[in-house]
Symmetry: C2
Subunit: 162 residues, 2 copies
DNA sequence: CCTATTATGTCAACAAAGCTGACATATATT
DNA sequence: AATATATGTCAGCTTTGTTGACATAATAGG
């Protein structure tokens, strides 16, 4: 618009980059809406959802494992995790090798709640996969993975390929 | 893991859906880090970034236009927008047809700052595009667009194809 | 065995960015 | 002239992140 067209290659590139950035923003904005609506009827928020998700996905994970994945401080996590434990959504068990650790697992109640949250996002993503087709999905994964910090990619790969 | 394998189709499907959900989470997490680091050295936050971005991208947009795109309340926007106007990053001009409106445009200072924020994300996305290749990029766009709320898709298309 | 380190928890204070509700002003619209 | 709309503003609240300081239990290294 404001920009006089430069070498048309660069111009296209700019458009394409803006497109990715904007789609990522809008998709993420809507992607978080469905679970947020459910959460709003409980005493929990998006932070609780993340904890439930990753504990459910990695049963027996430690507190510090969770901290690394979420990239938040232990004080932030503690508040959220404490509520989830208190309300019976997550159980803590002392580590077997290292008894300082608290191994985290979902209770049945926690599993059920996580499932209800997951289902909304699952439906949205399943629908999008169906509309876009398998090749598009492969591209979707590949670009997203490369957007992740390079040092983190192997950790992410390990997580998603589990 | 915990799950005994059901019909293998469904099992695969579950893995694929989890993968999309997790990649979206991790990619978004890192995607916002670079600008956040710059913002941390200023008095602004991620909310200011979004306003600067969309005003820069849609010069002359109105307050309510911005509200719809960001999906926040006018009180939330007001705080952030007010600071940006006060500090000389955004100018307001009365609408030409409807003088109740405030048309928003970046000042030179605002444009420069937005550029510095944009550049970090631009680099990250450009690198990811390069590594994944053009077909993957097309799939990336397609899946993301389909993750957006259906009623919003035409609005998003209009924005990204501008 | 003693010491240092590590994993976790906790208290306190603060900031960013969202929300609701109520009310004000200027301009358009009918 | 009355009503509706676009915007702004005040006040208070919530969620979720931050720092900094300190506590406890268990491990690890000498």
């Amino acid at each position: 618009m404001q920009r006089k067209l430069p070498q048309s290659n660069l111009y296209l590139r700019e458009e394409e980059l803006r497109r990715g950035i904007e789609l990522l923003y809008f998709a993420y904005r809507d992607f978080t809406r469905d679970p947020d609506e459910i959460l709003a009827t409980s005493n929990f928020g998006r932070a609780h959802h993340r904890v439930l998700y990753f504990v459910g996905r990695n049963p027996g994970t430690t507190v510090s494992g969770l901290l690394h994945q979420l990239r938040i401080t232990k004080q932030s996590l503690s508040r959220v995790l404490g509520q989830l434990v208190e309300d019976g959504y997550i159980d803590q068990r002392p580590g077997t090798e290292d008894r300082r650790q608290r191994l985290l697992i979902l209770t049945d109640k926690g599993e059920e709640f996580e499932k209800s949250l997951f289902e909304t996002q699952r439906n949205r993503v399943a629908e999008a996969y169906k509309k876009a087709g398998p090749e598009a999905v492969a591209g979707f994964w590949e670009v997203l993975l490369n957007i992740v910090d390079e040092q983190e990619r192997s950790a992410v790969l390990q997580q998603i390929e589990k």
